[in-house]
């Protein structure tokens, strides 16, 4: 494989993978706490429009990213309130969040249509480094791509190696057990859901500020759904999410290399999804004995004294 092609696959794996990774990491935390939030698409869209709006008005893309993330957190509060406090069906609440988030993003985005950001965030610009195989395609990535990489390690560490991780996982597995030890299940779930929103908002803002710094509606284009699939795909593990997102990005990108070689475009287009299916099946074969699966209390509202 020539250097250009290899560089492209790695580059695109990170480029396309980063927004997916950010959203997936957030959803992993929410689901680990037992909250299924199908509303990623809506939260991302809201984060994208707020992020762009702020970056556009203030000229500060970093502020845009920050407020975009906070916007995601804000809208996720709705889902948190409905699914944690009001104990409604989380699937429906999540779907409603998608509709609401996309609606708000469309209305709020009207003034920005066709506008571009004057300042954006780029990675290290060094044409000579960019040519180095493998390393070159990583070095040129933007800071948020590295943030995503670092976050997946940090979040993995927090989840599996710290007390907070034990609390979070326990709340998602057996909230009654956590409650009995004086853990505030509701608080943990609220925080996890809000964190999920924060990450989805960041993913959205990443799209509109860094990935493609100009405004058009519908910028999320279904990525939120892929993130939900990747959450399961990664077996609720932030490290797995890292390679799962990059893998998905790489597979999606490599279909364009295989075009023009006689395979129908749409068969190539099915590849990322078929690969995902196959890997999930293989993983299930391997994990069947180890009891790694969805958190036991996923999508089950917690009511003290019931269980």
């Amino acid at each position: 494989m020539n250097v250009q092609i290899l560089n492209f696959i790695i580059y695109q794996a990170m480029k396309s993978g980063t927004p997916l990774l950010l959203a997936t990491l957030g959803e992993i935390y929410a689901e680990r706490a037992g909250i299924l939030n199908l509303g990623i698409e809506g939260m991302m869209a809201f984060g994208a429009v707020v992020g762009f709006g702020v970056a556009y008005t203030t000229g500060n893309p970093w502020l845009g990213l920050l407020l975009g993330a906070l916007a995601g957190a804000l809208i996720s509060l709705i889902h948190a309130f409905f699914s944690i406090s009001l104990r409604v069906n989380q699937v429906v609440s999540g779907l409603a969040l998608v509709i609401l988030g996309l609606g708000i993003h469309s209305v709020m985005g009207k003034p920005y249509v066709g506008q571009k950001l004057s300042n954006t965030i780029t990675g290290i610009i060094s044409p000579s480094l960019a040519q180095i195989p493998v390393v070159g395609s990583i070095i040129v990535q933007d800071p948020i791509a590295f943030l995503g990489l670092a976050l997946s390690v940090v979040l993995w560490y927090v989840l599996f190696k710290t007390k907070y991780g034990i609390i979070l996982r326990s709340v998602g597995e057996n909230p009654a057990a956590a409650d009995a030890l004086g853990i505030n299940v509701y608080k943990v779930r609220y925080l996890a859901t809000i964190f999920g929103g924060l990450m989805a908002g960041l993913a959205g803002a990443y799209l509109s500020i860094i990935f493609r710094p100009s405004w058009t509606e519908g910028i999320t284009a279904g990525m939120g759904w892929i993130a939900i699939a990747l959450t399961i795909f990664s077996l609720w593990n932030p490290i797995h999410a890292l390679w799962a997102s990059y893998f998905f990005g790489a597979i999606s990108a490599s279909q364009y290399l295989l075009q023009g070689k006689g395979i129908p475009v749409d068969i190539l287009g099915m590849m990322p999804y078929i690969f995902t299916l196959v890997i999930v099946v293989i993983a299930s074969l391997a994990q069947l004995k180890k009891r790694i699966g969805a958190p036991e209390a996923l999508a089950v509202p917690y009511v003290r004294g019931q269980s």
Binding site: I166, E173, N174, A177, A180, G182, I183
Partner: protein
């Protein structure tokens, strides 16, 4: 020995939709005492303790600790006040390790939380005999081990008031003795223990005082030294009880179930049943005694088709049914009274009458053509409800609204009414009140007399002694020996439960 009163509950009232679980209950606890809370199931013991532990809020009444009124809004408040509780249903995260379960509440450091607790877990293990591997996953543990984790958690909390909810139900007599030692040691440390139980023997053995509840009301608080089991039983049940089982005349007939060199794996993939052989005859009750986690569950699951048999054969009425599925076995006349009756035995949101025909929904006369015949189902269910004395307002209410004893009667009614050839009964009276226990034991004896072969697993030696014609003691997946009740003493059986073979017990005796 009795110190000052450290806890007082005054006039506690707790209502649930349709019932008054606690009706103006007064309760007090002194420093350094073991206070037994005695009562039948449904008497309100657990509710009262859940209030004390902050899980429920009382509708009326007040709680004083060290003479100061307190509000216990959540377990967090209770823990802060030095109250610890070991629940009857374990509150453990199955997918996590023992250490993680402890660290959930008691790790002080954010990083390396497990290091924080592992040493102490081992230390408690040494000190109290609460041995458990901190790195083992909870789902791999036996019920007994899980309880040890719960007690360790309570110890971690540094509780000065420890609530133990039916703690001995999963322990061997020896282990129970050990627990009593631990409890007494804690008492010597000045800690106070509330010991919930319905076993009179335990009250007599370990309690300083006993409070008896009946139907949500407090009946009496007595000094244990000044009372006797008979009085306690009368207070608890409201009438004299004699644990006498009618044992009708019966004939032992031909072999119904034969098991040959059975090997079964547990969830971890390790052999849990190792080369067990036995046979049960028509009219016979064959008991299995042993501590939880020694392969009984796997044996039952293998016999009922819920778990794969790795090696060996199961022969029912001369037919090889090794690895037959549960549906086939039921059709061939194997009834199963499961260990976890709510988790497995009923469908909580379906009605009583729908539960009454579980496994039979495709059979005549409950099905007419494509459809279920609800008239027949209803009349059938109503007959069963009458016959088995199941307390329910109607057969159309969801099964979850029934009490534990009535749920067990429902299962019994369903499983027995099909005239089975074999009844596999796992812990049929576990956690039931005296009346229900009595009823169910009598009923099983009657079924045996009627010609069923009964396979009975129980951790209560009394039950095994009373009911079975022969019984085996199971340890580590093997039979330590098969004996008749009366051949050995309680203590000798206890030794077998700890892994001594019959020959050794006899040889040692």
């Amino acid at each position: 020995m009795a110190g000052k009163v450290i806890l007082e509950m005054r006039g506690i009232v707790k209502r649930f939709p349709g019932v008054v679980a606690n009706d103006h209950i007064d309760f007090d606890l002194r420093e350094g005492e073991i206070h037994a809370l005695l009562g039948e199931n449904g008497a309100g013991k657990t509710t009262l303790m859940n209030i004390l532990y902050g899980i429920h809020q009382p509708d009326e009444g007040e709680i004083l600790i060290d003479g100061r009124p307190v509000k216990l809004r959540s377990p967090r408040d209770a823990i802060a006040l030095g109250i610890g509780m070991v629940h009857q249903h374990f509150k453990l995260v199955e997918k996590h390790t023992v250490a993680e379960n402890v660290a959930l509440g008691y790790a002080r450091r954010v990083f390396k939380p497990l290091e924080d607790v592992k040493g102490k877990i081992l230390e408690y293990g040494e000190r109290y005999g609460l041995r458990v591997d901190p790195d083992a996953y909870v789902w791999q543990l036996s019920a007994g081990e899980k309880q040890r984790v719960e007690i360790i958690k309570a110890l971690f909390a540094g509780a000065r008031i420890l609530i133990l909810d039916e703690p001995t139900s999963v322990l061997t007599p020896q282990e129970s003795e050990e627990l009593f030692h631990i409890v007494k040691k804690m008492r010597e440390d000045g800690k106070s223990i509330i010991f919930i139980t319905h076993k009179l023997r335990e009250v007599m053995e370990v309690g300083d005082r006993a409070t008896v509840l009946r139907k949500g009301k407090k009946v009496a608080t007595l000094e244990v030294s000044k009372t006797n089991p008979r009085e306690l039983a009368r207070l608890m049940v409201g009438r004299e009880v004699l644990f006498e089982i009618e044992r009708p005349e019966k004939e032992i007939g031909e072999v119904v179930l034969r098991v040959e060199d059975l090997w079964v794996l547990n969830d971890k993939g390790l052999p849990a049943v190792r080369g067990v052989s036995f046979e049960i005859r028509k009219g016979e009750i064959f008991g299995i005694a042993g501590v939880a986690g020694n392969g009984q569950r796997e044996l039952v699951e293998a016999l009922t088709g819920l778990r794969r048999v790795e090696k060996g054969r199961i022969i029912l009425m001369g037919r090889d049914v090794t690895n037959a599925d549960p549906g086939t076995l039921f059709a061939l006349g194997v009834s199963h009274i499961p260990e976890e009756r709510i988790k497995m035995g009923i469908v909580p949101n379906l009605t009583v009458m729908e539960n009454m025909i579980l496994k039979m929904e495709w059979r005549q006369p409950f099905r007419k053509g494509l459809f279920l015949d609800f008239d027949t189902i209803q009349s059938y269910s109503e007959e069963r409800v009458r016959e088995f004395d199941i307390y329910t307002p109607s057969v159309r209410v969801p099964a979850r609204t029934l009490s534990g004893g009535n749920i067990q009667k429902l299962i019994l009614a369903r499983e027995i009414s099909v005239s089975p050839k074999v009844i596999i009964a796992a812990h049929p009276t576990y956690g039931l009140d005296v009346a229900a226990t009595e009823y169910i034991r009598n009923r099983l004896a009657k079924e045996a007399a009627g010609g069923a072969a009964i396979f009975l697993i129980s951790e209560e030696l009394d039950e095994i002694f009373q009911l079975s014609d022969r019984f085996a003691v199971m340890f580590n997946g093997e039979f330590m020996g098969v004996v008749r009740p009366g051949e050995l003493t309680r203590e000798e059986v206890g030794l077998m439960m700890m892994g001594k073979r019959l020959e050794e017990v006899r040889g040692g005796a």
